[in-house]
Symmetry: C2
């Protein structure tokens, strides 16, 4: 049997898996990223983790290659980290694929973590059979990936798809990450929803007894609590305005929604879709569907591994 080894590198943890051609995980483990200890340390954890995966592979089976998805902006062509922020200090400039190829003498690929999710959805999930779709990952921030004519849009340096840094209010609060005003990430990511929650509760007057996180707010919204309705109304309108913009720009067949915030489920998806529909012109509106991500929490590591099948000769 042939397998690919997938590595999903985030600011908190690194996820390793042995994945087959059908996208099934046959073995996996996670370790803390310990990102504050620097890039060399993170890379040594990556190598240890890959070693472990190779040692534990069933006898008679073969690793066909290694695929990495990483937080930050990754240059797919060179396999190097173009830019990584405070999530992975010092990670900028790390030649991920060169190090892997030299050590393991195997084909190696590296891409942004959300691009890896897009590969997973394209090969095994909601994007199967689609030529043009957009992945919106609603996590602590908002990540994204654009697939056009069957391939991931990369741009000049592999940094395309930063969907969270599309402004929905040019007079809004300044985004610390990019300097623009009113980035959609400030309204509809986990941290954005928590920020709106603090504002709404503070606006209600008096001392704020608690500061709910986005999970608490979406739960309260599902239960009809008034403060949460105010927050989620803003978040959904801002996100719908941004997604309508993506749709006018890219005319996709689908917008695939993943990440923690999207776990609020059908009520969230339906409210959002209604808002998007009212904000798009006829021609592009009739072309797209809003879909929940299919592959789930392991999409990052499965898509990382699937690069070996998608881009390799195997």
């Amino acid at each position: 049997m042939e397998y690919a080894i997938g590595v999903d590198i985030g600011g908190t943890k690194i996820h390793f898996a042995v994945v087959d051609r059908e996208g099934r995980i046959v073995d996996s483990h996670r370790v803390p990223s310990e990102a504050q200890l620097g890039a060399d340390h993170v890379m040594s954890l990556v190598l240890q983790g890959v070693d472990t995966m190779i040692q534990r592979m069933p006898s008679g089976s073969k690793a066909s290659g290694i695929g990495v998805g990483s937080a930050g902006q990754i240059n797919f062509v060179t396999g190097t980290v173009e830019y990584a922020g405070s999530q992975l200090p010092g990670w900028t400039g790390t030649p991920i694929t060169r190090i892997l190829k030299e050590r393991y003498l195997l084909p190696a690929y590296a891409d942004n973590d959300v691009n890896a999710i897009a590969v997973a959805e394209q090969m095994y999930g909601a994007g199967r059979g689609l030529d043009s779709f957009i992945v919106v990952a609603l996590g602590t921030g908002i990540g994204g990936a654009i697939v056009e004519a069957g391939r991931v849009v990369r741009g000049a340096k592999g940094c395309a798809g930063e969907l969270g840094h599309v402004s929905v209010d040019f007079n809004g609060p300044i985004c610390e990450n990019c300097g623009n005003n009113g980035c959609v990430e400030l309204y509809a990511s986990g941290s954005g929803i928590a920020r709106l929650g603090r504002e709404v509760l503070a606006g209600a007057g008096g001392i704020v007894p608690w500061q709910p996180d986005s999970r608490a707010i979406t739960q309260a919204w599902l239960q009809g609590e008034r403060y949460a309705s105010q927050v989620m109304d803003i978040a959904i309108r801002a996100l719908a305005a941004a997604i309508a913009g993506y749709i006018h720009m890219c005319n996709p067949q689908a917008v695939i929604l993943g990440g923690g915030v999207a776990e609020a489920g059908a009520p969230f998806l339906n409210a959002l879709d209604q808002e998007i529909k009212s904000r798009t012109s006829t021609a592009v509106r009739s072309a797209y569907r809003l879909l929940p991500a299919y592959v789930g929490n392991d999409a990052g590591v499965i898509g990382a591994a699937a690069q070996v099948w998608l881009y390799g000769n195997g």
Copy 2:
């Protein structure tokens, strides 16, 4: 000599040209579109115009094909009008390339007019040698085109690149064209700047003695008039916020600016670029340049014709 025939179809006029492989116009003429007389009439004008171009071609020369750029949303694959609004009533559904192929027995191509401008810039202008760039056409509205990995991004139905319908204020005025709030077109197109002009002058109190158009406003801005500074400050910040979003989404090597509003020249370009730079993250900011469109007013018809060389076998 081989030539391509270009046809640029707008709501006001239709522009015909015989164009050589180097993008030089050797013959051309324009007729009014008479769009209110309906799609059949417009198509008959197109055929008459092409007839004229063929009859006037120098003896011994050959038409290698016909390329059309049209207002509205054009499905490049089928050569049919996917959607056209009030600019070209009834134009939706017109099978442009089928009609041309049947009549002239020549290869024929049809695309959105801004996509045609992108082809002209890619082959002969500011986009030469670039793999990924964005064209922003600041006319009465805002049109756009996205080139990624060397090819025009089309999306599901050939409607991609509607850059004017990216929202920069999700609580802003409603856009009559698409239903979204605060589309950038409402701030930085010719009609948007005129709208802001009316608002600023009305806000100054009393009776508004005149209603300047965008050309008058940009002229007044270049001369340092105060009302015009207020208007252009809003227009430039809104446009920069939108372009910063395009840049985060597509990580282009260049943003190419054309259209009437862009004719305000270097002061406009410089002010805009400074705003964009303050609104983009490091990795994407270092990759892009803001460039004026190179090919000029004939870019539409030159790009329309150039499709024959770009997509044909010739």
